[in-house]
Point group: C2
């Protein structure tokens, strides 16, 4: 085993300081090969801290965060810092979320209830191999692919439940006590268009009611509680 010339630089992005500090503590215990160079509360915070001079090898990233969530952060990173590898650490286990994140190019996905041992495996794997694929991830992907093949009109290769910007905007507002008419006003759209968005989401997400929409939004970190 030869000498490691440089420490592996990490950054932590999570809106719960206690979790972040705990995570940092666990990482410190893994040994001196890892160094947490900074922590951020959310994507916005990360944007201000991240510079070419101060950039980590791997970012451990939460999804559900205020101001700027994991999705937006990964997208931003992929254009501005494409060399940084992202490892998601989230409590969200939903297939849609995992698959969406992988499509965006994250290098691994950990649930917050894994063993600390898996954290170190993930970090090593992402740094050395460039990715960390577990049975968890494979299972989600497989299931997603299988669903794509059932000929429901959404499948054949492209994203079956990937929501576009407008739908996400709508979904966030649907997750409030606004009436659909009020949402239409907010979005400067006809109530009938809103009607269409709702129906599209119902079909895409296999949901039957507005409560379902709200719950989906929460589960997938589109809104914060």
């Amino acid at each position: 085993m030869f000498h490691q010339h440089q420490k592996i630089k990490l950054a932590l992005v999570d809106d719960h300081k206690l979790f972040r500090k705990g995570l940092k503590s666990l990482i410190d215990m893994l040994g001196p090969q890892y160094e947490v160079i900074f922590e951020a509360n959310n994507g916005k915070d990360l944007q201000s801290l991240l510079t070419p001079d101060n950039s980590p090898d791997i970012i451990l990233l939460d999804i559900n965060m205020p101001e700027m969530d994991g999705f937006s952060t990964v997208k931003w990173l992929s254009t501005h810092f494409p060399l940084i590898k992202t490892l998601v650490v989230s409590m969200v286990e939903k297939e849609e979320t995992v698959v969406s994140m992988l499509k965006l190019g994250v290098k691994g996905y950990l649930c917050k209830d894994v063993e600390p041992k898996e954290l170190s495996e993930a970090l090593n794997s992402v740094y050395n191999k460039g990715f960390y694929y577990t049975d968890f991830i494979t299972g989600k992907l497989l299931h997603a692919i299988q669903q794509d093949n059932n000929g429901d009109g959404y499948g054949n290769g492209n994203q079956s439940y990937q929501l576009n910007e407008r739908e996400r905007d709508f979904l966030k507002l649907a997750c409030s006590e606004l009436t659909y008419n009020e949402i239409a006003l907010q979005m400067s759209l006809s109530p009938k268009t809103i009607d269409g968005y709702r129906n599209a989401l119902f079909e895409k997400l296999n949901i039957k009611s507005r409560v379902g929409l709200a719950l989906y939004a929460v589960k997938n970190g589109l809104v914060h509680l």
Copy 2:
């Protein structure tokens, strides 16, 4: 400063292993005066691990957990192990939740985004003084009291928004895609009674729509995502 004869025994109850391990790591760093004697995934898990021979001084308890949540756990502890002190560590910051927990007799309430320093202060305070009251807690209590005094018919001393068993049952079902009629069937009640429950909750919780109900339930850990 004199010798501490006995370590302060702690137990951690949280459904996210990585958070638990991080928390344990932070506690271990506080010094040898604290010892985490066991960890549990949720209330049910705690029930099976907790015996008179194996009981901690302080339990650090999450709220939103599957199987058995923080509310039920605290209630159970207060009858079966009244001497154990409970310190809530949750991401929930809603006044209702904080106040309800305090009414149930927890000795302190920490949000998951506090500094680790506050964790150690809280543990010391709970162990030495029996409680840990912060401005955060006082603020919530004060606000709750002030609301009680506005003569809205719910106040005068008793719980203004404490939900009873039946209302909680209903709320959980309302947080689904079931129709109110279907909920009535499930609960073996008339749809008109359900109507009454909904209206009562709307008023108590200052909510205007079913989406609001669902969101409230999620925020307060009545349902798990």
